[in-house]
Amino acid sequence: MLSDEQLVKDFIAGRCSSIDVLIDRHKAKIFSYILMCVKQQVLAEDIFQEAFIRVIKTLKNGRYADSGKFSSWVMRIAHNLIIDHYRKQKNKSVISNDNYEYDLFNSSQFSDQSIEEKLVVDQLRKEVSMLVGLLPDNQREVVVMRHYRDLSFKEIAEETNVSINTALGRMRYALMNLRRLAEERNISLTLS
């Protein structure tokens, strides 16, 4: 088993698979540290990703000075990112609503949906779902990936093995077809 120092040297020399080994070896501990501090999975993943991107850039730019354990170095980078995050949060203040004469949030835009609104939204969702089911397979696939799985067009293109332009084109045709299908069936796709 190669040491961290050897793997770093190999990566700097151009062997990209070495960084994969380093990431797999240390990801659990580094992620555990970040998660222990920030306590949120998504934020921890952002910081984790940013830390390793900085590691990769530093190594590839030849700015790494081997002065200790690789994992300690990465954790220090993560630590600094965590501190940066806290300092950005510090600039955001939270204001209490209690001491105003009127309740700022007593407005229909902040209230829960009425039963009628819920029924309308549910019905609309079912109709949209039905119309999406009528689309050709490749267009339906793009719509589902974009709007139900929240993937980017780049991710959709990679998963379906097409170019981004093709994925975008399929979405465009899907939307045109959805509008046409809705018109044919006299379905209104707006909330009013």
Binding site: A28, K29, S32, Y33, K57, R76, H79
Partner: protein, 68 residues
Amino acid sequence: MSQITTPDFFANEEEATYWLFIFEQLPDGFGASAQQQPSAFIIDKIKAFAQVYQPIVLMGKDDGFVIN
């Protein structure tokens, strides 16, 4: 008068430093069996970045570009 409340970020920073000290003493394999791990998607993205990132020197400064 409005009440402005702010979490104790100084305590958060101290806590992060404390945990850094603790984690630096732990063995490298720590956390391997933890339930919460970074998602496979994130790991794959980082590894892919390592493959495609190319360093360059731009106007005297270290920079880089990604071959997409």
